[in-house]
Each structure stands twice: as structure tokens, then as C-alpha cells.
């Protein structure tokens, strides 16, 4: 339950125009996104139509405002026509209201779509996790999957909600205002557009330059954060080896680099706003001057200038919005690509054709390994032609140094991985003919990394089994010997386990054993505790485990050899291979690896 594996990626740290992450294939990412959005498409279309309608309305506005100005100018000399003023005002008011309403409804629809889509994606990921073969998790870090659930899905949700609507309305505004400008007066239109274009060329130059500094800043910040993390978490060694000075020097070096790239990127991105302002001002001035000259020549009325003052604004604003929108769309596509990649990952083989089912209560408990051959990769076989015959109620121990692949056997038995050739038979039935769900039903599994989740002790022990009474739970706790401990906790069974409570590793182990007891199944897989548990608790755990093996065919992954001397069969593994098998006596007589291992623990 630790946080260690999720190193927060320095993605999108800070502000300003973030470095747009580029998707590998923009088109296919967008295509896929449309596919997943299928059920939302009608809503999206409605929303986009509303967005452009709202934009069109705001373009008509200035035109009418220009009429209003003209009515007033004309009225300066001969008295204002208040009827006209009133009717134009009412018209405009209605226009503004409708535009705002459309805009609001549009945003509401997009909000709904974006959030439900994000929810959908998250659910898909959550379900997907349980349908992927374990192999996938060997090759991918948790952090990677977690960042897909949160960061990537968030990016998709936020951009959909923010960008799509505004992108459409920006494009509409942009095109609409160009049309309106030309319709109103072509000379003024060209003036306004030219002035803006000059400004934007300038801006894009700066933007392209600042991108470089932004990615540089991210890299430098990443390095600095890495160093900080390393020094902080290794504090004791840094101290004990007098590494502070060196750490400080390194820190200064990184800090200086961050400072430099920071300053540059911030300066450049900070320039955007003033330049935008300047572009606005420039077009404003151009329109004013040219307009005035035209008015003087009697080509246009003064109202046209007023209209253009607004058109210019309507024209320049969307340009930056479009640029920002395209940028966002790119990072969305990149995020979507990662999410879809996960969702479309190959799943475990389908089990729909499987009809056979072994019933828990009727299983005898025999297991046969028949020439089993297996490798995590097809080119690297780790188990070669393994055969053995396990009878009901026998105790099988798997031993070997760390990393020898002891868990491989568990993985095969539980059908977490598929064997390459040969077969494993449970009560004479090939596990190929049985569903994973059925096999899992037949096994109790207790692993050394005690997996408990944040929840009450009761929930952790009964887990997904329904109709478990508190008495049954207390019985199980008593058998493993933690009933007193649980009773002594503040709320007893309702005590909520959290990340950092004071329950020791050994006690956690005992709780997971109790969970196994509640499950009750004919087979047992046990992974013994390692050194993190103190020896006296370990004894308790040992006793509990012994109880659990009673009457069950059990497979035990052993770390200490003294406890498994009475096993019916000992499998000795090294480098992923089963190199010896037999009972304790046989193996000691053989004087091979096992005997060596066994003796080494007493050597002086």
C-alpha cells in the first residue's frame, strides 16, 4: 500500500503554454477517439451547432451596434430617433441573451459528455486490469498504469470540456468576422486583417522559440527533483558518509540550470500576453486611422469604425484560441493514444467454450504435472519437462534461493500463465479444460507480501465472500491466534486498516491467513514469511499455517528449510529450473544443492 511506485511524472508542471506532447499518430488517435465517443456523438453535434450559432450571433452584434451609432450620429444635428434606438437596443439585448444561453447550454452538454466519457474510460481501464494476463504487469510499472487512469484520462476530459466547444466557436467567430468585415467594408477589412497578421507572425516566432525552453525546463526540473528525492530518501547514508557537501554542490548545479531555463521560458511565455495586447492595439489603431480617413472622404459612416473596433477584437481573439486549441488537441491525442493502447491490450484467452466445472466440495485433491514445459518468453524456457504426481492431502515444498522462480509454480497452478506444453491435471481434469475462475475457486492462496486494503478488518477477512458471520470471522482469527489482538483494537472488527498504522508485518500475515481460512478450499498455496517478520511472530504464523494445511493438498514456498523437513515432496529450484526433487532424506543423501543449502545455515 505504499506510494513509492508512483513517481509523479513531471508532466505538465508549471504554467504557460506547456510543451504539447505529440501523439505518434494523430489521425489514428483521433479516429479511435471518435469511435469510443460513438454513443455521445449526437450530443456532441448538437453542442457544436449551438457553439457556432452562439458565435454567429455575437458577430451580428457589432453590426447592429454600428447601426445604433449611426442613428446617434445622425441625431446629433437633428435630434435622435429614439424609436430606432429602442428597437435596436431591444434587438441587441435579445441577441446577447440568446447567444449567452446557447453558449451555456453548449458548455453544459460538453461538460456532461466529457465527464461521462472520462468515467467510461476509467471504468474500462479498471475492468481491463482484471482481464489482462499477469505477464503484462511483469513488463509495465504500476505508475505507468496509474498515470493512464488519472493524468491521461484527466487530460482527455479537460480538453474535451474546454477546447472542443471553444475551438468550434473560435473557428466560427474567425470565419464569421472575416465575412462580416468584408461585407461591411473591404478596405477596413484588409486593414484590420493585415495588422493582425503582422502581429501573429511575430508571436508565432516567439512561441516556437519558447517551446524549446519549456521542454528544457521540464528536463532540468526533472533532474533536480530526482536529485532531491534521492538525497531526501537516502538521508541516513548521506549523513553517515558525510555526503552533504557533495549533495549540496550537485544541488546547486541543478538548481542553477533550472533557474536559467526557468527564467528564459517564463520570460518568453510572459511575452505572449503583451504581444497579444499589442496586436489588438495595432489593429485598433489601423482601423481607427483608416476608418477616419474613409469617414472624411464620405465613404463610410462613423458607425462602421465602431463596428470594426469590435470586429478586430473578435478576429484576433479566436486566432490565439485556435492555436491553443490545436495544441490541446495534440496533447489530448497523445493521452488518448496511451489510454487506448491500454484498453486495446490483448486480453487473456476467452473461456466461453469451457463447459466442465469441478465442484469445490466434490474435489478429491489430486494433482498431476505431466511433462510441463514453460517459459515467460517462448525463447527462454524456465521449466523443462517437469512431471510429478501429487496425492490428496500431501505437502509439497518448493525451495531455492531468492529469485530462483519459486513463484513460477504458483503461477502455473493458478493458471495465471499458460503452460507451453504438457499438462497439469486436477482430479484428472486438464486445467486447460477448466476456467480460471473455477481453478481459483479450488485454491486458497496466502502470499508473503501481505495484501490488505484500506478497509475494516472484517471486510479484509471476508473479502468478496458473502454471508460470513462475525462469529465465523472471530473463529478464524482465534485459530490463527490474533483474536485478542483484534479485540484490543479501538473498534475491533470495524477497525480500519490504513497505510501507516502500527500493525506489524507479522500480524498482517496472520490476517491474510485468516482470510484464507474463511475462503475454505481443497487446495492450498502458501508463501512463507520472510525475514521482515520477527522470529516470535513467525512462530505464530507457522502454527497458523500448519493449521491451514490440515486436510488440504498444499504447496508451500519455503524460505527456511527446517520447517519443511516433513514435506512429502521437496522441489529444489535454481535459476528458474527444478534441479532436484525428493523428500528431505533423499535429498540430503544425494548431497547436492539442497544439502549444500541446508548445511550452510548452520555453518560458522
Amino acid at each position: 500500500m505504499s506510494n513509492d511506485e508512483v513517481k509523479s511524472k513531471p508532466r505538465n508542471v508549471g504554467r504557460g503554454p506547456n510543451v504539447a506532447e505529440k501523439p505518434h499518430n494523430f489521425k489514428s488517435a483521433i479516429k479511435k477517439m471518435v469511435f469510443y465517443l460513438k454513443k455521445f456523438l449526437p450530443l456532441i453535434v448538437v453542442s457544436l451547432v449551438l457553439a457556432s450559432l452562439s458565435a454567429v450571433l455575437s458577430i451580428i452584434g457589432p453590426n447592429k451596434l454600428s447601426d445604433l451609432t449611426d442613428v446617434i450620429t445622425e441625431g446629433i444635428m437633428k435630434g435622435i430617433d429614439f424609436e430606432a434606438v429602442k428597437s435596436i437596443s431591444i434587438f441587441l439585448l435579445c441577441l446577447y441573451f440568446t447567444s449567452a444561453l446557447f453558449n451555456y447550454i453548449q458548455t453544459l452538454i460538453m461538460t456532461n459528455v466529457a465527464n461521462n466519457f472520462a468515467k467510461d474510460l476509467r471504468s474500462r481501464i479498471s475492468k481491463k486490469i482484471n482481464r489482462l494476463p499477469l505477464k503484462y504487469f511483469d513488463e509495465h510499472s504500476y505508475g505507468d498504469i496509474l498515470s493512464r487512469v488519472t493524468n491521461d484520462v484527466d487530460t482527455i476530459g479537460i480538453t474535451m470540456h474546454n477546447s472542443l466547444g471553444s475551438l468550434v466557436s473560435a473557428i466560427t467567430l474567425f470565419i464569421g468576422s472575416i465575412i462580416m468585415m468584408f461585407v461591411t467594408n473591404w478596405i477596413m477589412a484588409i486593414t484590420g486583417i493585415l495588422a493582425s497578421i503582422i502581429g501573429f507572425v511575430f508571436m508565432s516566432l516567439i512561441l516556437s522559440k519558447s517551446q524549446k525552453y519549456f521542454s528544457q525546463r521540464q528536463t532540468e526540473l526533472g533532474k533536480l527533483n530526482g536529485h532531491i528525492e534521492e538525497i531526501y530518501s537516502n538521508h541516513n547514508v548521506v549523513k553517515a558518509y558525510n555526503g552533504e557537501k557533495e549533495a549540496s554542490e550537485k544541488f546547486d548545479k541543478y538548481n542553477q540550470k533550472v533557474y536559467e531555463s526557468n527564467r528564459k521560458s517564463q520570460f518568453l511565455s510572459g511575452m505572449m500576453q503583451p504581444i497579444m495586447g499589442f496586436v489588438g492595439n495595432l489593429s485598433y489603431v489601423a482601423v481607427c486611422v483608416v476608418g477616419s480617413i474613409l469617414v472624411m472622404n464620405g465613404d463610410i459612416k462613423f458607425g462602421v469604425i465602431v463596428a470594426f473596433m469590435i470586429y478586430v477584437r473578435l478576429f484576433t481573439n479566436p486566432l490565439s484560441q485556435i492555436a491553443q486549441g490545436m495544441n490541446n488537441l495534440q496533447s489530448t491525442a497523445a493521452a488518448a493514444e496511451r489510454v487506448f493502447e491500454f484498453i486495446e491490450e490483448k486480453e487473456m484467452s476467452s473461456e466461453e467454450v469451457i463447459k466442465k466445472r469441478l465442484h469445490k466440495s466434490k474435489v478429491k485433491g489430486n494433482v498431476v504435472f505431466d511433462h510441463v514445459k514453460f517459459g515467460y518468453n517462448s525463447d527462454k524456457i524456465v521449466i523443462n519437462d517437469f512431471s510429478c504426481n501429487v496425492k490428496k492431502g500431501q505437502k509439497i515444498a518448493i525451495v531455492g534461493p531468492t529469485g530462483a522462480g519459486k513463484t513460477t509454480m504458483v503461477n502455473l497452478l493458478m493458471k495465471f500463465y499458460e503452460i507451453n506444453s504438457g499438462d497439469i491435471l486436477i482430479d484428472g481434469e486438464s486445467i486447460r479444460e477448466l476456467s480460471r475462475e473455477n481453478i481459483h475457486d479450488l485454491f486458497i492462496m496466502v502470499l508473503q507480501d501481505t495484501w490488505l486494503f484500506e478497509g475494516s478488518i472484517r471486510d479484509n477477512i471476508k473479502y468478496n465472500k458473502e454471508n460470513v458471520t462475525d462469529e465465523e470471522i472471530m473463529d478464524a482469527l482465534e485459530v490463527v491466534g490474533v483474536d485478542h489482538f483484534v479485540k484490543s483494537l479501538p473498534k475491533g472488527l470495524d477497525y480500519v486498516l490504513t497505510d501507516n498504522d502500527s500493525i506489524s508485518a507479522g500480524q498482517k500475515q496472520l490476517l491474510t491467513i485468516a482470510r484464507g481460512m474463511i475462503k475454505d478450499a481443497p487446495f492450498l498455496i502458501l508463501d512463507e514469511a520472510t525475514s521482515s517478520v520477527d522470529t516470535r511472530t513467525e512462530e505464530l504464523v507457522q502454527k497458523a499455517m500448519d493449521k491451514l494445511t490440515e486436510g488440504r493438498t498444499s504447496f508451500i514456498i519455503a524460505h527456511r528449510l527446517s520447517t519443511i523437513k516433513n514435506a512429502d515432496l521437496i522441489l529444489v529450484m535454481k535459476d528458474g529450473n527444478i534441479i532436484e526433487q525428493g523428500n528431505h532424506k533423499n535429498l540430503m543423501e544425494k548431497n547436492g544443492f539442497y544439502a549444500d543449502l541446508y548445511n550452510s545455515q548452520f555453518k560458522k
Binding site: M1, R15, L65, T69, I72, F82, V85, L93, S99, L101, N103, T111, A114, N115, K119, S123, I129, N130, L134, Y142, I145, H161, E229, Y232, H235, N236, K239, N242, S248, Q266, F267, G270, M271, Q273, P274, G277, N281, V289, S292, M296, F302, P401, T402, M414, E437, M445, L447, F453, Y463, N464, S504, S532, D534, T535, R536, R560, S562, L597, S600, F602
Partner: protein
């Protein structure tokens, strides 16, 4: 938050004042622009020629250009100030954390310290960068613009005032509704993150119990809650933009509408002035509204930054309880460690972790500590390098209290190997010769140390041998390999005293045995303090201390303890069978 601003130097303050002047200049220019438009309007109504209009246009361009120039200069200084501020603060925090003892680190927790040094500083940097520009500019613009329009017609000012109030009320109400929920959203995201992590970590258990549906259901519940809260937030915020546009548009319209009436009522000569005022007024009104909105943005950002500032100050205001001593000369009793009636408890706890522990480890002796988890073994040896200081009693090295040594000198005497082997990003050689005291360690020495630590084989198998890079956190070497390198690090230092805090746990029995043998040969003269779980590891120690709940319940050799210490016997029997022990 303002406490942190004290970190600005005199020069920085000068720059800030200069920035304020620049911003005033910029605002003046920005507001001057509409004036020229007003002039043009008046000229047009009266009749004029092209050159006059061009002249006005030229002034307008000058204003726009000047405004741009001063804005860019402000941006330049702001970026300088904010990044040098963050550089200074980051450095201060880093140095502070370096000076912390384990006690303070534990108090904050490592991950929290990391976020404080990185994210919180970034947050501060952001508010300074933006604040310098917005916080100063917005009120100046607002006040200046208001002054300019006040005398142009109170009716218009009143309308603008109403618009500002409507917008502010809206923004503030929305924030009051939404801000607390933003915090909830963060929690809900953590929640579903937790569910996913839980599912991933326990993937074998989940599948073994056929509990996929159970987990998915749990996730779905969190997912729905998150979606609903987010929907509520975003729906509420969706009102903002349309209303903003609506208010701004209506404001322009209202100014014109009222203006029409004013013109009608005015005397003939005033009409043109009022008309041009009207055209210009809309520009000013927009400026006023925009600056108030900007201020609102600052207020939205403020709480986050102030929380960050508080968290930073917490670190900076904490002082390490471990003070440096001044003894740095050596004594003849090389490597003698003595505990005299040592007791220890955490400052805020009432229970003693160690109680009245006394023993002496003479030069060349090996002293081992054994006991169940929580018995205080690790705490005990952490007192030697002064990761913690004793509550009562004394820890002496060569007859001198460790508190009196210069820390650097003290650490130079020690070869400490922690429970969790620690690796730095760098080559194997770098890792083994780590630290100031390791500056003079030659490559041969590194090789020798690694050989003693039983790491020669795997290191030489690596692509670049001793120059092979270790990834951050040592993710590219196994647990056992890390532990051997950590031990090599201690060996390479040639210390007087070795401290092994359960440092053999990731090694299999055979390697453990070989390593201890080699080590014994190599470190004949050095004193060894060993914490262990396995009896086999300490069976040959000169002295074994058995700890139980912080109390020493037995001291002696393996054989002696087997005879007279029940707890030791229990531990021994749980690991080795009776006949094995008797075979001794």
C-alpha cells in the same frame, strides 16, 4: 506568506519598485490610447484633414509600442525575480533538510519534504511571477481608469459600477461554492488511484479469490462519486463565461443607450464631446472590468499559494535538535563503543523505546543485537551515528561522548549499512566510494571492497563493470546485489566501527555465510555492531544482546544465552531445530 518575501534582497526590492514604475507607465499608455481615439472622433465630427488624423494615429502607435516595451521589460524582471526567488527558497529548504536529523525527517515524512521542496516552491514561484504583473497592474489600471471616466458622466460610471459588482458577486459566489469541492475532487482522485493501486498490487490475490467483480464495483463507486462531483463543479463554472460576455456586451449597449439620451439633452456644442466620450468610455469600461476580473483570479490563486508558503515555512522554522560538537582529534582506544545507561524515547511519546542499556564493545569485538520487531534494535544502533540523540545516559566512542565529536569526524569513524540498502544514481564505483570521506578511495580499494562483499562476480558480469551505471533508487540491481554494494561501501571506507542494521537479510544463507567469513578476515581490528534476525548470522559474535520491548533481557555469547536466556532460546528454537542446536 509575507515572511517568505523577506528573502528578496535589496537589489530585488529595487527591481520591484522599478517594475511598479514601469507598470504605471504602461497603464498610463494603455489608457492614453482611447484618448487619441476620442480626439479623432471629435476631429471627425468637426471636420478635419488626413494629416491631423495620421498624427493622432502616430501617437496611438507610439502608445501601443511603448506599452509593449514596458510590458516586456516587466516580464523580463518578473521572470528574473520569480526564478531567482524559487532558486533561493529551494536552496534554503534543501540545506535545512540536510541539517535535519532522523527525528525531524520522520516528523515531516520524506515524501512530504520532497513535495515541499518541489511543488510548493513551484506554486510560490507562479504566484510571484503572475502576481508581480497582475497584482500590481490590475488595481492601478482599475483606479486610473475609474478616475478617467468619473468626470465623463456619472451615469456611465454608475452603469459600469453595477456591471463590476454583478461580475464580482458572480465570481465570488461561484468560488465559494466550488473551491471547497475542488479539494474534495483531489481526495476523490486519490481514492480511485488507491483502488487501482490496490488492485494492481494484489492482482494475484484478487484473481485467486475471484474477486475481480468486487474490486471493479469498489472502483466504480469511487468513479461515479468523482464524476458527479466534477460534473457539479464544471456545471457551476459553466455559468461564468456566458454571463461574463453577456454583462460586457450589455454594458456597451447600456452606455450607448444612456449616451443617446445624454446627447439629446445636452447643448449643441457639448453633443460632439459627449459623443466622443461615449465611444471612448466603452474602452475604459472594458479595462475596468478586466482588471477586476484579474484581481479575482489572484484571489482564487492566493489560498493555494498561501498553503504552500505555510508548508515551506514549517520546514524553514524547524531546527535540527542534533547540534555539532567540536572534538576532532583521535584517541588511542580505536573503535571502542560504550553505552552507559542509555534510554531513548521520541519527544512526543511517553513510552521508552530503549531503557537503561549498558554495554561495551572493545576494539575488534563483534557485538550483536537480536529481538523481535519493535524491540528497539535498530533504534539502538542509530544512536551511534547520532541519527537520534539519547534521552538519558551516554553513548561513548573511544571514551568521548558522541555528542562532543564533530559530526563529520564522528561519521568518518563509522561504516554504516542501513536496513534498506540505498543506491545513488551513478556508477558502481561512485556508489561504493560515496561521500566526502570516500574522495581518496582508489579503484583498487573499490574492487577489493566489492570482492569482500561477495559482489565481484555480478559486478564484473555487468556491461561496464565497475563503471556500470546504477539507476536512481537502484532499480536495475536486485535486492541482494544492492545489499552487497552497500556493505562494500562501508568496507571501502576502512572505518573503526562497522554498523550493520539487519544488512544481511536479502542474502541467501550461502552468500550470507561467505560474506561474513570474508568480512571477519578483512576487518579483524574493527569493532562490529550487528543487528540481525537470523541466529546463524550472529552465532559467533563475541557478545549478543537480547532485546525485548526496549529492555536488555540477556547478554552473553550464543552458548551462554542458550543456557540462561529464555527469550533467546525461544528465538533460536524457532529457527533451528533442537538437534541442530545440539550439534553445535
Amino acid at each position: 506568506m509575507f515572511k517568505l518575501f523577506k528573502n528578496f534582497s535589496k537589489k530585488d526590492c529595487g527591481i520591484i519598485i522599478f517594475c511598479i514604475i514601469l507598470i504605471c507607465f504602461q497603464v498610463w499608455l494603455d489608457l492614453k490610447l482611447p484618448d487619441y481615439m476620442s480626439n479623432i472622433t471629435t476631429l471627425l465630427q468637426k471636420g478635419t484633414d488626413v494629416s491631423e488624423i495620421l498624427e493622432q494615429g502616430f501617437y496611438m502607435l507610439l502608445c501601443a509600442g511603448g506599452s509593449l516595451a514596458s510590458a516586456i521589460s516587466v516580464g523580463y524582471f518578473a521572470s528574473y525575480l520569480s526564478s531567482s526567488f524559487s532558486r533561493t527558497i529551494r536552496k534554503k529548504i534543501f540545506d535545512k533538510v540536510q541539517s535535519f536529523s532522523m527525528e525531524e525527517i520522520k516528523m515531516f515524512s520524506t515524501s512530504s519534504l520532497i513535495t515541499r521542496t518541489t511543488n510548493d516552491v513551484s506554486n510560490m514561484e507562479m504566484i510571484i511571477g503572475m502576481g508581480l504583473q497582475l497584482l500590481i497592474k490590475a488595481p492601478i489600471t482599475a483606479i486610473w481608469a475609474i478616475c478617467k471616466i468619473l468626470d465623463k458622466g456619472w451615469q456611465w460610471s454608475a452603469i459600469t459600477g453595477v456591471a463590476v459588482i454583478i461580475l464580482l458577486i458572480m465570481v465570488i459566489t461561484l468560488m465559494i461554492i466550488v473551491l471547497p469541492r475542488f479539494k474534495i475532487v483531489q481526495k476523490l482522485i486519490d481514492n480511485i488511484n488507491g483502488f487501482i493501486r490496490e488492485n494492481l498490487k494484489g492482482i494475484r490475490v484478487v484473481r485467486a479469490f475471484n474477486a475481480e467483480g468486487y474490486q471493479e464495483e469498489k472502483f466504480e463507486k469511487g468513479n461515479i462519486k468523482l464524476t458527479n462531483t466534477q460534473l457539479f463543479n464544471q456545471r457551476t463554472m459553466a455559468i461564468m463565461q456566458p454571463v461574463m460576455y453577456l454583462v460586457m456586451n450589455t454594458l456597451t449597449l447600456a452606455i450607448y443607450f444612456v449616451g443617446a439620451h445624454l446627447i439629446e439633452e445636452a447643448a449643441m456644442f457639448d453633443k460632439i464631446t459627449i459623443f466622443s466620450n461615449m465611444v471612448v468610455f466603452t474602452s475604459y469600461a472594458m479595462q475596468v472590468i478586466m482588471s477586476f476580473l484579474m484581481l479575482a483570479v489572484i484571489f482564487i490563486m492566493y489560498p493555494r499559494a498561501s498553503v504552500s508558503a505555510e508548508r515551506i515555512n514549517e520546514v524553514l522554522d524547524t531546527d535540527s535538535k542534533i547540534l555539532d560538537g567540536d572534538v576532532s582529534e583521535d584517541n588511542y582506544l580505536e573503535g571502542e563503543v560504550e553505552f552507559r545507561n542509555v534510554s531513548f524515547k521520541y519527544p512526543d511519546s511517553s513510552e521508552y523505546i530503549l531503557k537503561d542499556i549498558s554495554f561495551v564493545a572493545r576494539k575488534g569485538e563483534t557485538v550483536a543485537f537480536i529481538g523481535s520487531t519493535g524491540s528497539g534494535k535498530s533504534t539502538l544502533i542509530n544512536l551511534v551515528p547520532r541519527f537520534y540523540d539519547v534521552t538519558d545516559g551516554e553513548v561513548l566512542i573511544n571514551g568521548v561522548n558522541v555528542k562532543n565529536y564533530k559530526l563529520e569526524h564522528l561519521h568518518n569513524k563509522l561504516g554504516y549499512v542501513p536496513q534498506k540498502a540505498v543506491m545513488f544514481n551513478g556508477s558502481i564505483k561512485y556508489n561504493v566510494s560515496y561521500g566526502d570521506s570516500g574522495k581518496n578511495i582508489t579503484i583498487d580499494k573499490v574492487k577489493e571492497a566489492i570482492k569482500v562483499a561477495q559482489g565481484k562476480e555480478f559486478v564484473e558480469k555487468m556491461t561496464n563493470g565497475y563503471d556500470s551505471n546504477i539507476a536512481q533508487g537502484g532499480t536495475n540491481v536486485s535486492g541482494g546485489q544492492k545489499q552487497r554494494l552497500a556493505i562494500a561501501r562501508a568496507i571501502a571506507k576502512d572505518p573503526e566501527i562497522y554498523i550493520f542494521d539487519d544488512s544481511f537479510s536479502a542474502l541467501d544463507y550461502k552468500t550470507d555465510y561467505l560474506l561474513r567469513n570474508e568480512l571477519k578476515k578483512y576487518t579483524k581490528d574493527a569493532t562490529c555492531l550487528i543487528v540481525a534476525q537470523r541466529i546463524g548470522t550472529i552465532i559467533n559474535a563475541d557478545k549478543i544482546l537480547v532485546l525485548d520491548h526496549g529492555v536488555c533481557v540477556g547478554m552473553g555469547t550464543h552458548k551462554e544465552l542458550l543456557k540462561n536466556c529464555n527469550i533467546y532460546k525461544e528465538i533460536a528454537y524457532s529457527q533451528l531445530s533442537k538437534e541442530e542446536l545440539e550439534n553445535e
